[in-house]
């Protein structure tokens, strides 16, 4: 059966493409499909793997064992394979280990997640061109002919003739109307509201024995989709990293999701009898334990984990950059330059090395900044910036935040109480008190530091470490990071007034 599937999806892709393109218009008017014999279908599913490839050898062994049982077996992925494991994320070309592993595992279908765009649209198109599986997301519209591997829906068929229609949906943010990735990464694509788009696929119910939504919406929206579309047999989802075990029956629709990071493999089992699904259930298989592994896939994983790009020297500095002030200045300059921010802050606890060597590797950057924190942009007034600096100082009774774009002085009295915080622009002039500045901070500072700000802010969907790598790769002059200081503590002997 698997061979039949591979043939249909790979070398004989054109009929499938036509079905995908014209399916919406034609399925409703198709004559009822002939009723095949009773069929047991097993669909394995992963989501939000985020570069955690370590359990794929177990996944391969589980799928192979199921195929031997005689069931019709499929393997779906509900999106977000990239970003989350620096060793894999830094591969050249980006995403290569994931592509090779999913091809080797015989993935049948991938619904695009927001992080599939994080390496850029051109990279995703190259990924898609080499994938031996189709990509689905019905609420993405690409310019005609520009992304031929992307389909709204796909029709699969078991060896006994059971027709399975699957459509894909990707999440979009309420404000921007774009998936949660940097807007530059999806330029040229048009996204529509996923739950509204889903209604167009009700017509796929006619003429097909099984109807599945393969989504990257998050569990809450999967629940809403099930409520509005009881025509569905199954929703297999991702995005919210929800561990749904067993899969839940919502309005007659089985809703499944397999956590994240390849810790679980989802397994949905359907019994099709009399031309419709008569039994369905879903469970998670825990992968973090001893179990059989496919030796060939295990070797592939070991090879990918020795990523030579990780040890590559990205820049040779004229000096070893040392000290929190210099390293923090470098990190915040990177945030400002790479993302066009006016001001950026880096907390001292997030600087995990005392010095960078002269020959700086990607591994050094992830040792310096290992937390995977996102950059959050907030529009802030000078008064709000003072509130952030005040809170940071009071947390540890010392200068904590390193800065780019401005310098600042915290003046305290003899009791270490803050009397004044002076802000100066890069040229030494006082900041315009009536202006709002584009300020970048890490997601850690945004969530842990207590400071008032009118603008709630937005993640730039890029990590602080990624900004530093891109900054260093741009050929910046690093000689300025010698004896650099932008944050000062002015201690006075004034005594607090009673």
């Amino acid at each position: 059966m698997k061979h039949t599937m591979r043939t249909m999806i790979g070398t004989r892709f054109l009929p499938l493409v036509l079905l995908a393109v014209f399916g919406l218009l034609s399925c409703a008017s198709l004559p009822p499909a002939p009723v095949p014999a009773d069929t047991r279908i097993v669909i394995f599913h992963s989501n939000d793997v985020h570069g955690k490839i370590y359990n794929y050898a177990k996944v391969a062994a589980i799928i192979a064992a199921e195929r031997k049982s005689g069931a019709d077996v499929f393997y779906f992925c509900a999106g977000d394979n990239f970003i989350g494991n620096p060793v894999i994320d830094q591969y050249v070309p980006p995403g290569e280990p994931i592509l090779e592993l999913l091809n080797r595992l015989g993935l049948d279908l991938l619904c695009l997640g927001n992080h599939e765009f994080d390496f850029g649209l051109e990279n995703l198109k190259q990924f898609a061109a080499r994938a031996r599986f189709p990509l689905v997301a019905a609420n993405i519209q690409a310019p005609p002919g520009s992304f031929p591997q992307l389909r709204p829906s796909v029709l699969l068929e078991t060896k006994g003739g059971v027709k399975i229609a699957v459509f894909g949906l990707i999440q979009i943010e309420a404000g921007s109307g774009l998936p949660s990735t940097h807007p530059d990464k999806v330029k040229g694509l048009v996204f529509s509201e996923p739950l509204a788009k889903a209604r167009e696929f009700r017509s796929l119910r006619a003429g097909n024995h099984v109807l599945i939504g393969l989504t990257h919406l998050g569990y809450e929206d999967d629940q809403r989709l099930a409520q509005q579309m009881p025509e569905l047999d199954v929703i297999i989802g991702g995005h919210s990293h929800t561990r749904v075990d067993p899969a839940e029956n919502v309005n007659g629709v089985l809703v499944a999701q397999a956590g994240s990071d390849n810790k679980f493999l989802g397994r949905v089992e359907l019994l099709v009898s009399g031309g419709r699904v008569v039994e369905k259930k879903g469970e998670l298989i825990e992968l973090n334990g001893p179990m059989a592994e496919n030796a060939e896939v295990k070797d592939m994983i070991a090879s990918f984990n020795c990523n030579p790009a990780f040890a590559k020297v990205i820049v040779t500095a004229p000096l070893a950059i040392a000290g929190k002030e210099a390293l923090g200045s470098l990190m915040t300059d990177a945030m400002c330059r790479v993302h066009g921010l006016d001001i950026a802050f880096q907390n001292g606890g997030g600087i995990r090395l005392n010095r960078l060597p002269q020959q700086i590797t990607i591994k050094d950057i992830y040792t310096l900044d290992p937390f995977g924190n996102q950059i959050v942009e907030i529009a802030m007034t000078p008064a709000e910036i003072r509130g952030l600096i005040k809170n940071s100082f009071e947390k540890g009774g010392n200068i904590d935040l390193q800065v780019s774009g401005i310098s600042y002085v915290v003046r305290t009295n003899a009791a270490r109480q803050i009397k004044e915080i002076r802000l100066s622009a890069a040229d030494g002039a006082p900041l315009d008190e009536n202006r709002q500045f584009k300020v970048g901070i890490s997601s850690y500072v945004a969530s842990v530091y207590d400071f008032a700000h009118q603008d709630p802010g937005r993640s730039l969907q890029s990590t602080t470490a990624d900004a530093l790598i891109r900054f260093l790769e741009s050929g910046v002059d690093l000689s300025m990071y010698r004896d650099i200081q932008r944050a000062f503590w002015e201690k006075t002997t004034e005594y607090p007034r009673p």
Binding site: D48, H50, G84, N114, Q171, E173, A174, G175, S180, L217, G218, Y219, E220, D221, Q223, H239, S240, H241, T242, R243, V244, D245, E248, G259, S260, D261, Q374, V376, I378, S443, Y444, A446, S447, V448, P456, G457, R458, S459, L460, Q461
Partner: protein
Amino acid sequence: MQIKMNDQAIEIFSGACVKDVLRKYSRAEWRLVKNDRKAVFDRHGHQVALDGELNGGEEFFIKSVELAKPQP
């Protein structure tokens, strides 16, 4: 965007994940979850990972891992 944690509304930047909301809600609870003594569950009772992504409007609850296990 607004997320509820243990019935308390938390205003957080868009694109935040579960751990950002949890850290803003309570550093003490964050440490307990990070050390696997507690876990975060959605309003349907399903456990979510700390890097779970949010769209806005979700509700979560922090529970002891032992209490969250199905009772025999």
